[in-house]
């Protein structure tokens, strides 16, 4: 999904309908926030649905923060920064791309429609474009319906899943993968030639596969932890609850045990059960 630039009107066509999406936008101080200010100075009228959080650079936006928005049940989230090449912090926004990409993958894993999160660039001079983009995004989210609707999942259940995704976003693996992609795969636009420890550039396709695998694993592990956070369960119980095969669960559990986030609680004469912290 991409903002089409042409043919978008600022007028809110759908505001008369019942569903008014709740939307949060992260704006960077130097460009998109200034663009939003300019929309104000120019009195461009756009719909009232967005709430703004100002950060210095879009690179400050952590996947955990975005996912928190969905944990809260927001219908859509915007991350807007400076155009590529214009970031006030040289190339901070290239990292934003990677972090939002990771978040999109986590959303998909959690069954949350990916179009609920949108990243784009707005310069300090693009007041009108800002206003149009807001109107457009609200409209796109309106098409998806309230949180959970297009997903066909109860909103409360979906919030739980967002929480699981948030747990996965805390994992060092995923954070490492999002943070290292530019180093490893390179980024021509900023003249970085990627190389791994052997001095080879990692292909983007391989990296994507690696990323997807890890998103799946971390999401699953996060799901396991949240399942056994309060009440300990056995491998079998976990497997049946998560519709997985016990061998796989065992594998995850031993990794989590090793990481010190899951413990075995043994009681006499009962199957061993695990508890998460």
């Amino acid at each position: 999904m991409r903002f089409p630039d042409e043919g978008v009107s600022i007028k809110d066509e759908g505001s008369k309908t019942e569903f008014s999406p709740k939307i949060l936008s992260f704006l960077c101080n130097w460009c998109s926030y200034a663009g939003a200010d300019l929309a104000g100075v120019s009195r461009f009228q756009y719909p009232t649905n967005t709430r703004v959080i100002r950060v210095m650079c879009s690179a400050r936006v952590d996947p955990i923060m975005i996912l928190e928005g969905f944990v809260q049940g927001l219908d859509g989230i915007l991350v807007l920064g400076c155009h590529l090449g214009d970031c006030h912090y040289i190339h901070g926004n290239y990292f934003t791309i990677k972090r939002v990409k990771l978040t999109h993958k986590l959303l998909k894993q959690a069954g949350i429609h990916q179009d609920r999160l949108y990243l784009d660039w707005v310069s300090a001079a693009e007041g009108e474009r800002y206003a149009k983009m807001i109107a457009w995004f609200i409209d796109e989210v309106r098409k998806l319906g309230p949180f959970g609707e297009v997903e066909g999942i109860d909103a409360e259940e979906l919030k739980e899943r967002a929480k699981v995704a948030q747990g996965a976003a805390r994992s060092d693996k995923l954070r490492w993968l999002a943070g290292k992609e530019i180093d490893l795969c390179g980024e021509e636009r900023i003249g970085i030639q990627g190389k791994n420890v052997y001095g080879e550039q990692v292909s983007k396709e391989d990296y994507d596969i690696l990323m997807n695998e890890n998103v799946l694993n971390e999401y699953t592990r996060s799901g396991i932890i949240s399942l056994i956070r309060e009440n300990p369960l056995s491998i079998k119980e976990i497997a049946s609850k998560l519709k997985m095969c016990p061998a796989e669960v065992l594998q995850h559990i031993s990794i989590l045990e090793h990481a010190g986030v899951v413990f075995l609680t043994e009681e006499e004469g009962r199957t061993p059960r695990y508890i998460g912290v």
Binding site: A34, T48, I53, M56, G92, F95, S123, R175
Partner: protein
């Protein structure tokens, strides 16, 4: 006031009406009522103008009388007013870092002017989010950074030249970058300047000579700014020099003045413009300069005002064209007192101030005829005549012409947006540079250390461009004279107990401001405060939550996210 006990949070919220700018579109009383019920809010007040003397002293009194240790102003934008309110907190004895801005004007009342109910709700939400954040703010101290005592001036027209010279006179190093091969901008093509009919060439040459006499003023012509990196105090500018030898120069400056000027609209397709018998005022200036003998022989001269201006496409009035027309008409009538000269104007003729008004009278006395047209009845130009509906007479009149001069507006350069992007400053809808505040900071941009003057900001006459340039030079000299600027402490810090030295933060830092160092407790990441610019990228990467991004901590931002919904 006693700040030792910052644990007990006492939040004061000041809500601005901004006259009717906010008060006219939001239910401010209702917002205040709501705000009273938010956690830790112990005091609220509505101000007509929070930024006025009265509003500011209300903040001070509020802090003192109610022992506030967290302050919120819900008003305009932090990009222009945050320094003011922070200073006031500080004057009242409150650490300015315990202040939080909530934007309910640019982001709310001005963009939802017909949605009172929903916009009021939005403002409440924004304030709630602000309260969530302000409760988690911690006191901090500003950091001082050194200012490179040099200024870059972009554009070598009369404004840029004047600003450069003025700064050079004060002893600062100045680099003036002009993309044309010669200095002077629009002035090169002008003949005489109103109102005192000075020679444009004299004015320009005088300024040039003066500029060239300062060894600390370096003039780069045929040169263009390609890249600008950095912040107030320390900008790194890449200049592409075409002549005499092609090359790239990196220039370090502390401040920047934008004076890129404007150009005259060429009225292609309007009133039969052909550049020969139907020309612009600028082309007439050239002829006045070079072909006076030919002009003398013309008997019928007609000028049409507001060509390509004040319409749908370009809604603005270019302000200088009326005076230019009167001046040029007067000059022609002095050359040839027999000539019949008409100025066909649209509803108004812009002459402001006493000298200009006199000038206008003088033109009338000299027999120059002023005829008014209505935008619905635009003049029609044929080969020999201009046909116009005279409102006074109530009928069409035909005015013959030998030369038809079209007064077209000054328009911005197409590529103004490139420079705006490089500087990260805004343009208005006509692509003119937009200042930080029209009344309070007319020559500053909202971004610290960058200033504006001349016609790149708005059409102005030469005297106005000069006074703006002197003003911008004065503004730009403040940080250079102080040698230091205080910047907010927005830097990151590593909690050594949590850090596992994975190095991720270091690899995402655009400024290489993080190093992994050996410490007693093993290897740990360490932020070099002087290099950190506060983007927060490291914080968004660290897997151990070991990074505190001051003023934009994880907790603060998450608290805002959590407060989006009531």
């Amino acid at each position: 006031m006693d700040q030792s006990n910052l644990l007990e949070k006492r939040v004061g919220v000041f809500i601005c009406h901004c006259g009717t700018n906010i008060g006219g579109f939001l239910d401010v009383e209702d917002i205040e009522e709501y705000t009273k019920g938010l956690p830790d809010v112990v005091f609220t007040q509505r101000n007509l103008y929070t930024c006025s003397e009265e509003g500011l002293s209300q903040i001070k009194n509020g802090i003192k009388e109610h022992n506030l240790n967290r302050v919120i102003v819900a008003s305009c934008t932090p990009r222009t007013h945050e320094p003011l309110f922070k200073r006031v907190c500080s004057e009242a004895g409150l650490n300015p870092y315990l202040f939080n801005f909530v934007n309910i004007r640019e982001h709310c009342s001005w963009v939802h002017m017909h949605e009172r109910k929903q916009a009021t709700k939005k403002a409440k939400d924004l304030i709630r989010m602000g309260v969530a954040r302000v409760r988690l703010l911690e006191p901090e101290e500003d950091i001082e950074i050194d200012v490179e005592p040099a200024c870059l001036v972009i554009g070598g027209g009369i404004a840029g030249l004047t600003a450069s010279t003025s700064l050079a006179k004060r002893g600062f190093k100045v680099v003036l970058v002009e993309r044309d091969a010669t200095l002077g901008g629009l002035l090169r093509d002008l003949y005489k300047l109103y109102p005192i009919c000075e020679d444009a060439t004299n004015v320009l040459e005088g300024r040039k000579r003066e500029g060239e006499s300062y060894p600390n003023l370096e003039i780069l012509t045929s040169s263009e700014v390609k890249e600008i990196k950095g912040f107030v105090g320390n900008y790194e500018v890449t200049v592409d020099i075409q002549y005499p030898r092609h090359g790239i120069r990196i220039i370090k400056v502390g401040v920047i003045i934008v004076a890129t000027g404007a150009k005259v609209l060429i009225p292609e397709g309007l009133y039969g413009y052909d550049g020969k018998r139907i020309i612009t005022q600028l082309e007439l200036e050239k002829r006045l300069k070079e072909e006076r003998e030919k002009l003398k022989r013309l008997n019928n001269i007609v000028m049409i005002q507001c060509v390509g201006a004040r319409g749908d496409k370009r809604a603005y009035c270019s302000k200088v064209c009326c005076m230019v027309a009167i001046k040029n008409a007067t000059l022609i009538s002095r050359l040839n007192p027999e000539a019949k000269i008409y100025i066909i104007y649209r509803d108004i003729i812009q002459v402001h101030g006493t000298e200009y008004e006199d000038y206008y009278r003088e033109a009338r006395d000299a027999g120059i005829l002023f005829v008014r047209y209505h935008p619905e009845n635009e003049p029609v130009v044929s080969d020999e005549y201009v046909k116009i509906y005279d409102e006074m007479l109530g009928e069409d009149i035909l005015i013959p012409y030998d030369l038809l001069v079209l007064s077209t507006p000054l328009v911005s350069w197409e590529d103004a947006s490139n420079l705006a992007k490089m500087l990260k400053v805004p343009l208005d809808e006509n692509r003119f540079f937009l200042e930080a505040h029209v009344k309070l900071r007319p020559l500053d941009f909202a971004t610290d250390g960058i200033y504006v003057c001349g016609t790149c900001h708005w059409p102005v006459s030469v005297p106005e461009a000069v006074s703006q340039a002197l003003g911008a030079a004065a503004r730009a000299s403040i940080p250079m004279a102080n040698k230091k600027v205080r910047v907010e402490s927005i830097i990151s810090e590593v909690d050594k107990d949590k850090c596992i030295a994975c190095g991720l933060c270091a690899s995402v830092c655009p400024y290489k401001a993080i190093e992994i160092k050996k410490t007693e407790g093993g290897k740990k990441a360490e932020v070099i405060s002087a290099s950190c610019k506060g983007c927060g990228s490291c914080g968004a990467s660290c897997p151990m939550s070991a990074i505190t991004m001051h003023q934009f901590t994880d907790e603060q931002i998450l608290s805002q996210v959590k407060a989006v919904l009531p």
